[in-house]
């Protein structure tokens, strides 16, 4: 049956200015409304597919059930859909509201996948629709009042649902926290109010976008020692899973970041932005090679994070964040290849927004550390993920011994099999330094890369990484070691000297072979050399480290 209204349905569309506004991170209210409408369309299309799947193979849905139950189920497998349709005739606005909820999106995807894999309607969770049909008769406010987070500052209000009950909240990618206690609820409200005040004061247009996008916050289990973890699902526009934040600033930045993921997911539902979204490369935000789609997500999320830090520059650590991420966003955006026409417009607008920030003044000592942090991450990524072929190792070694110039070699991408996050003692020291804490006593003994000797903040990062790995069902460990080419972290004296800007002292310390080998990356960034660390590292032991780096540069 073809439905006339469907035959005449218009495509979702955006004006060119709206798409550019989205790319720049400045969508207007009408654009957000169109994205929201498109997500409702997505939910309805999923429901259409659920109904179609039930119609197509009722026998498959019930063949595994005992006969009486199978008979009952197959008699009206789509009865819950009919019930919801009936509820819509009585309370259309309320049903639309329920269907637009982000958790309806994760339910619909989960249900459809289960049905297609042969689950029965009951197993696939179809009864959820009957629950919604009942909920359609309960006004919205009565349903959620006790878990609303509402804040107003300078005439701007945000109101979201703090979701700590619905089992569907487990589908957002992180382990949900159990129902909040009154004390936890009080803390959430306090930090949310503080975050909102901060956002409205610092980045009011971004706060307006956040208020229009964010509808649901799902508290998740904290990592015992991490400052915070959060996640966004492509199936749940406007929902953020986030652990209880350390403070209002962390919540403000976390919400800005996650809302960007939601917006980009909605844009990509409408328009493909990348011709080859799976093409892997370097991301400034991860230690493993990332697909282009992930790199775009990182750049887009950090667009608003950077804009926030841009407003906080009386603080040296905020200056560092601003200087670091403005460069990372531009580099990531410029590195994206094979963009579709819509992608070129979107990424072009993103770059037009951020590039002018590169010329804004930052205290020179802070800028040195920010640029060093980015280079440090990139070189460590190379050391972790690029390999030199044995023939090239032999050619390099032979040339070294013969006193000849180094031959040209081509590193090969060979990423580790699993995701890993790597602690970085230099970054830890940089944060301490910029917070105004003393580095005295931290530069005496070389510290091992991992384990009990690691600085507390380094240990926290390691545990966060393990938490993330376990969440993905993968075994933690092997953060750094493979084939003797791991990035070595934690050369106390050298790192302190580097952070303090004492170049010669840093070089003297980095050229020593420590307990964990040569810190090639430290040596390269401290000396300002243009050398690939994965190449230098294969020459470990054939000569003095600083001489090797100079020979290669």
């Amino acid at each position: 049956m073809t439905i006339p209204a469907l035959a005449h349905a218009r495509p979702h569309h955006l004006s060119d200015a709206a798409l550019a506004g989205l790319g720049a991170g400045h969508p207007d209210a009408a654009t957000i409304a169109e994205l929201r409408r498109s997500q409702l369309s997505r939910h309805l299309l999923l429901l259409h597919e659920i109904a179609a799947t039930l119609r197509q193979s009722p026998s498959k849905q019930t063949e595994h059930l005992p006969q009486p139950l199978a008979d009952r189920t197959s008699a009206a497998p789509d009865e819950p859909i009919a019930a919801l349709a009936a509820a819509e005739r009585e309370a259309p606005a309320r049903v639309r509201e329920l269907l637009a909820d982000p958790l309806f999106g994760v339910w619909a995807v989960s249900c459809l996948k289960a049905l297609r894999e042969g689950a029965s309607p009951e197993q696939a969770g179809l009864t959820h629709l009957a629950t919604l049909a009942t909920a359609a008769h309960i006004p919205h406010q009565r349903n959620h009042d006790d878990r609303a987070l509402t804040a107003t500052h300078d005439g701007l209000t945000i109101s979201v649902r703090l979701e700590d009950r619905d089992p569907l909240r487990a589908h957002l990618g992180l382990t949900p926290a159990p129902r909040l206690t009154n004390e936890q609820l009080r803390r959430w409200r306090e930090k949310f109010t503080g975050a909102w005040r901060l956002l409205v004061t610092a980045v009011r247009p971004d706060a307006e976008v956040l208020a229009a996008v964010l509808t649901c916050i799902v508290p998740v289990e904290p990592d015992p020692a991490a400052r915070g973890i959060s996640a966004t699902s492509a199936d749940a526009f406007g929902a953020v899973a986030i652990s209880e934040p350390a403070d209002a600033t962390a919540l403000a930045v976390g919400l800005l970041h996650e809302a960007q993921h939601s917006i980009l997911n909605a844009v990509q539902y409408l328009f493909g932005l990348l011709e080859a979204p799976g093409l892997t490369g370097y991301s400034p935000w991860r230690d493993d090679p990332r697909p282009a789609s992930g790199i775009l997500h990182g750049a887009y999320a950090y667009l608003t994070v950077t804009r926030f830090w841009r407003t906080q520059r009386r603080d040296r650590l905020a200056q560092f964040e601003f200087a670091r991420w403005r460069a990372a966003v531009v580099a990531a955006g410029e590195g994206l290849r094979e963009l579709t026409p819509a992608g070129a417009r979107f990424v072009g607008a993103l770059l037009d927004e951020v590039r002018p920030w590169l010329a804004e003044p930052v205290e020179p000592a802070v800028l040195r550390l920010a640029e060093g942090a980015n280079r440090d991450h990139y070189l460590r990524w190379r050391l972790r993920n690029l390999r030199i072929e044995p023939d090239d190792v032999a050619a390099l070694t032979q040339a070294w011994h013969a006193g000849q110039p180094p031959p040209q070699v081509t590193p090969r991408l060979q990423p580790m099999a699993r995701r890993a996050l790597e602690a970085n003692a230099r970054l830890d020291l940089t944060h301490r330094f910029l917070r105004g804490h003393s580095l005295e006593g931290l530069g005496t003994d070389p510290r091992p890369a991992e384990g009990n000797g690691a600085a507390p903040e380094q240990q926290r990062e390691n545990r966060t990484a393990e938490h993330e790995l376990r969440r993905q069902g993968r075994a933690p460990g092997q953060h750094t070691s493979r084939s003797g080419q791991a990035a070595k972290v934690g050369n106390g004296e050298a790192d302190v000297a580097y952070v303090l800007g004492e170049r010669e002292r840093a070089l003297r310390a980095y050229r020593k072979v420590g307990l964990v080998g040569v810190d090639w990356v430290g040596l390269i960034i401290a000396g300002g050399f243009d050398v690939a660390p994965e190449v230098a590292s294969v020459l470990a032991g054939v000569g003095e480290p600083l001489e090797i780096v100079r020979w290669l540069s």
Binding site: A5, L6, H13, R227
Partner: protein, 62 residues
């Protein structure tokens, strides 16, 4: 992208069904699979088949 109007416009392959009733939407079929709806559904199916990994793990640097 359409440039035939007064201002350039980006038209999605995904149609706006947000105003359709559930009754109409869930009853609609297209056995031939040639309609705009069918095209949308194929793209949706492709999205579901390639969901990518969750975007997770952000830690505030401060």
């Amino acid at each position: 992208m359409s440039t035939t109007g007064a201002t350039p416009e980006w038209r999605s392959a995904m149609i706006d069904v947000s105003e359709l009733s559930l009754t109409d939407l869930t009853a609609a079929t297209d056995p031939a699979g040639e309609s705009v709806l069918a095209h949308c559904l194929r793209r949706l199916a492709d999205d579901l088949a390639h969901p990518g990994e969750p975007i997770a793990g952000f830690n505030s640097a401060l």
